[in-house]
C-alpha cells in the first residue's frame, strides 16, 4: 500500500507536475508573444492619430463617470475636482456616497454647492436604498451628480446605483481615489467607436501612485514606489496588464477589466444584471457574466485593453492590508469560476469558454494550491532523505530563471509602450526587483492566495476591509490640511448639536 502511495506520489510530482509547469510556462510565453503583437498594433494605430479630434466632434458618445466613495473625506474634494477636469466634450461625473460614516458628503455639499434635487431615480439594478440625489447650484459643476445611499457593504452595490442614474450609453467605473490622466476618456472611448463589432468593455493599464508626486488630485511626477511591497506590486501590475491583459485582448478572451478603471456599454451591463454585490471579485464577475450573455445572444462582441497607463492607484504598503486585499481577490476568483462553472470547457461560449476560463481555472486558481503541495512534497523528500539535490536545484533554477525572464520582458514591453519613468535608475531598480520577487514577494502572494482559497472552501465569512490611505509623495500636507478641515467642521457640528 505504502509502495503504491509512494509510486503515485513520485509519478505525480516527478512527471505530471513538471508537465503542468511546462504548460504554464508555454502559456506565459504565448501570452508574451501575443501581447507584443497587440501592443504594436495599438501603437501603430495611434502613432499619427490626434485624439483631440473627439473634443470638437458633435458625435463623441456621451460617457458617465461613476465613482463610489466610502469614507473618503480626506481627499474627496481633490478627487472630484480631478474627475471634473477630464478632457472630453460630453460627460457627467456621478459620485456615490456609499453610507460614509465620516464627512465625505458634507465636504461635497460644501465645496460643490450641492442642493437636493428631484432626480427621478429608476432602479434597473436593485441596490440598497438611495436617500437623496444632489446637483450643484453652480453651473460650473453642472456635470456633477452626487448620490447619497445607504451602505451596501460593497463597491458593487454603489456602482450599480451609479449605473441606474447614468445618463449616457457608456460609463467609466473607477475608484474615487484613483488619479486619472486627463485624456483617459478620449483614449478609452476609442475602442468603442473604432471596432466593427460591438465593444462591451475596455480597460487600460493601472499604475501605482505610492511615491508619485500629486498636487490637487493631479499627478505631477511619476516615481517608482520606494517601499518594498508597492515596488513588487508595481512589477506585478506591469506584468499583469501589459502581458496578460493585452494578450487576452488580442484573442478577444479577456476575463478581467479592473474595477479601478473600466469602461462599459451600459445596455449590456444592465442586460447582464449589473455588478454582483455578493462577489469579492465583482469586476471579473461582471465581465464573465457580460460575456456569457453576449455568447448566448450570439452577438459578435469584443472586450479590449489599452496598453497606456491612464490610472494611478494607491496600493497597500503594509502586510495586513495587502493580505486582506489578496485574500479577497483569490476568494473572488474562486467564487467567479465556481458560479460560472457551466461555461468552463463549454464550446457554446467559444474561445472564452474553451481557452480563457480553463486557463484561469488551471493556472490562476489551482496554481497556488498545486505550488503549495509541491513545497510539501519537497519537504517530504528532504525529511525522507530521498531528495536528489542536484535535480532539485536545477528544477528550482528552471522555474526561477523563467519567471525572471518573463518579468523583465514585461518591463521591456512597458519601455516600448511609454517609458513611464524618466530616469534610467528607476527602470533598472524595477528590473533588479525582478530577481528578488520570487524569494521575497511571491511567498507572500502565495500565502494569501492559499488563505483566500481557505476562506472559499470553508465558506468562512470574509469582510471587505478598508484600504488605509497614507497619501502620495508631495500630497501629505494637502491631506493633513483636509483632515484638519474635517476635524474643524466636525467640532462645529458638535458644538451646534
Amino acid at each position: 500500500m505504502e509502495i503504491h502511495f509512494q509510486y503515485y506520489l513520485h509519478l505525480i510530482y516527478d512527471r505530471l507536475i513538471f508537465f503542468y509547469s511546462v504548460l504554464i510556462m508555454l502559456s506565459y510565453l504565448t501570452l508574451l508573444v501575443l501581447s507584443i503583437f497587440e501592443i504594436k498594433k495599438y501603437l501603430k494605430r495611434n502613432s499619427y492619430i490626434d485624439h483631440k479630434l473627439l473634443l470638437s466632434s458633435p458625435y463623441a458618445p456621451g460617457i458617465s463617470v461613476i465613482a463610489p466613495a466610502y469614507n473618503e473625506a480626506a481627499t474627496i474634494d481633490y478627487n472630484v475636482h480631478s474627475l471634473l477636469s477630464l478632457d472630453y466634450p460630453c460627460f457627467e461625473v456621478i459620485i456615490i456616497n456609499d453610507g460614509s460614516t465620516d464627512d465625505t458628503l458634507e465636504i461635497l455639499i460644501d465645496k460643490y454647492q450641492l442642493k437636493p434635487t428631484a432626480f427621478a431615480y429608476y432602479e434597473q439594478i436593485i441596490t440598497q436604498p438611495v436617500k437623496q440625489l444632489f446637483k450643484s447650484s453652480n453651473p460650473v459643476y453642472s456635470r456633477l451628480l452626487v448620490i447619497d445611499k445607504e451602505n451596501g457593504g460593497s463597491k458593487a452595490d454603489a456602482s450599480n446605483a451609479g449605473i441606474n442614474a447614468a445618463l449616457y450609453p457608456i460609463f467609466l467605473c473607477t475608484d474615487v481615489d484613483c488619479i486619472l490622466r486627463r485624456d483617459t476618456l478620449l483614449k478609452m472611448v476609442k475602442p468603442f467607436i473604432e471596432e466593427k463589432v460591438k465593444v462591451i468593455a475596455a480597460g487600460a493599464v493601472i499604475r501605482i501612485v505610492n511615491s508619485c508626486e500629486v498636487e490637487s488630485g493631479v499627478l505631477t511626477k511619476v516615481k517608482i514606489p520606494a517601499k518594498f511591497l508597492p515596488l513588487f506590486q508595481e512589477l506585478e501590475y506591469v506584468r499583469a496588464f501589459l502581458v496578460g491583459r493585452m494578450a487576452w485582448s488580442k484573442v478577444n478572451a479577456l476575463l478581467l477589466v479592473s474595477g479601478g478603471l473600466g469602461m462599459f456599454d451600459k445596455k449590456t451591463v444592465i442586460a447582464a444584471g449589473g455588478y454582483d454585490h455578493a462577489s469579492f471579485g465583482e469586476d471579473m464577475e461582471l465581465v464573465t457574466r457580460m460575456r456569457g450573455y453576449m455568447e448566448r445572444q450570439k452577438t459578435p462582441y469584443a472586450v479590449r485593453y489599452i496598453p497606456e497607463s491612464l490610472c494611478w492607484t494607491e496600493v497597500p504598503d503594509n502586510i495586513r492590508v495587502f493580505g486582506s486585499q489578496r485574500t479577497r481577490w483569490t476568494k473572488g476568483l474562486a467564487q467567479n469560476l465556481w458560479i460560472h462553472k457551466k461555461m468552463i470547457f463549454n464550446p457554446r461560449y467559444g474561445r472564452f469558454g474553451m481557452i480563457a476560463l480553463p486557463y484561469w481555472l488551471l493556472f490562476e486558481w489551482f496554481a497556488p494550491i498545486i505550488e503549495f503541495t509541491g513545497i510539501l512534497y519537497y519537504i517530504y523528500l528532504i525529511l525522507t532523505h530521498s531528495i536528489n539535490w542536484d535535480f532539485a536545484i536545477i528544477l528550482l533554477a528552471f522555474v526561477y530563471t523563467f519567471s525572471v525572464m518573463i518579468t523583465v520582458t514585461a518591463v521591456l514591453w512597458d519601455e516600448i509602450t511609454q517609458k513611464q519613468y524618466t530616469s534610467k535608475t528607476e527602470v533598472m531598480k524595477l528590473c533588479t526587483a525582478a530577481f528578488f520577487e520570487p524569494f521575497l514577494y511571491h511567498p507572500l502572494a502565495l500565502f494569501f492566495s492559499l488563505r483566500g482559497n481557505y476562506f472559499f472552501f470553508t465558506g468562512k465569512k470574509l469582510h471587505w476591509g478598508n484600504m488605509i490611505r497614507t497619501g502620495f509623495a508631495g500630497s501629505k500636507n494637502l491631506i493633513k490640511a483636509t483632515v484638519s478641515k474635517v476635524k474643524i467642521r466636525r467640532k462645529k457640528q458638535h458644538e451646534k448639536r
Binding site: 479630434l53 473627439l54 442642493k115 528544477l395 525572464m405 521591456l412
Partner: protein, 383 residues
Amino acid sequence: MLFYILGIWILPDIFKAYPTIIIVAVMVIGLSILASIIVYLIIFFGRVRASYIDIKTTKARKLISDKLNHYLFFMESVGNISRDDLRRVATELNKLTVLKFKSRLVRQLLIDQLVYFKKNFTSQTSIALSKLYQNLGLKEFSFNKLHTNSWEVKAQGIAELREMAPIMSATEILPYTNSSNDDLRVEAQAAYVWLNTADPFSFLNDTSEILVEWHQIILFDMITKNEEIIIPPFNKWLNSPNSSIIVFCIKLIIYYKQPDAVPSLIQLLDHSDINVQNRAINALGKLEAISAEPIMIAHYSTFSKSCKLEVLKALRRINSKTSIQFLRAEFLKIDNFYIAKCAMYSIVAISGYTRAQLLAGLPELNAEQKAIINHCFDKLINI
C-alpha cells in the same frame, strides 16, 4: 522534444546521462538567462539612446520653435509675405544643419512644428507656412513616406501632405483610398476630401467597407472644416447598400441643414437597420420636419425602444403642439420609465406649461409619474 534533442546536442557530457526532464530544464535555464540578458541590454541601451534623442530633440525643438516664432510674428505683422522674405526664412531654418537637419528626427520635428502652427493660423500666415514647408524640401520627405511598406507611415505621410501641401494633386492620394487597411484608407479618403474640392465625395459611391464611428468622425471633421468644398445633396447616398454610409450622410445632412432630404429620410423609417432608423428619426427632428411628424407617430408602435425614444425627442425638436396628445398618452401608459420620462420632457418643452398647469390637465398619477414630472421641472437637473 525539441529542447531534449537540442540539449543532447549542446549540453556537456555530464548532463547527457540525466533524465529528459532535467535536460529540458537545463536548456530552459540557459535560454531564460540568455533572453534576460538580451532584454536587459535592450532596456539599458534603449534608455541611453532615448536620452540622447531627448537631448537632441529638446535642443532642436527649441531652435526651431524660436526661429518659427520669430518669423510667424514677422509674417503676422507684415501681412503678405514676399518671396524674398520667405526665402530668408527658409535659409535661416536651413542653417539648422548644425543639428543634422538631414536627420529624419529633426526633419520630422520641423514638420510637426509647422503642422502645429498651420492648425493655429489662418490666411497669409497659413499660406506662408505651406510655402516654407515646400521650400525646405519637406514635401518630398512626407511624400517618400507614401512609398514605405508600413501602412502607419503612409498614413502619417498622407496626414502631413493634407495639412501642409494643399496644392498638391489629389491623384497621388487616390490609390490609397481603396486600401485594404481601414485606417490608411480613411486617412487617404480624408485627404482626398480635403485636396479634391471638385469631386471630393466619390469615395462614398465605392466604399463597401463599414465606416466605423471613429472614421466617420475623422471624415466629418475634414469635410465640415473645408470651406472651399462644393457641398452636394447628401440624400443621393441614402439608398446606399452600406448602412454606415447612410448614417454618415445623415450626419452631413443635419450639419448642412438640407431639408430637401426629408422625403428620403422618411423612407428610411422602414429601413432594416435599427441604427439607420434611429439616425433618420434624429435627423427629421433636427431638421424640424413637421411633415414627418404624423408619419413618425403612425410608425411609432412598430419601432424598437431606442427608436421610440428618438421619436419622442424628434417631436420635441419639431415643437408642434399637435403632438402633445400623443405624448400625453405615451406618458400615461407608463409601460417604460424612460419612454415616459422622455415624453414628459417633450410635453414640458412644447407646451410651456408650468408644473401646476400640467398637473391640472392630468388624471391621478402614480408615484413614478409624479417623480418624472418633478424631475422634468427641476432646474438644477436641467441646468
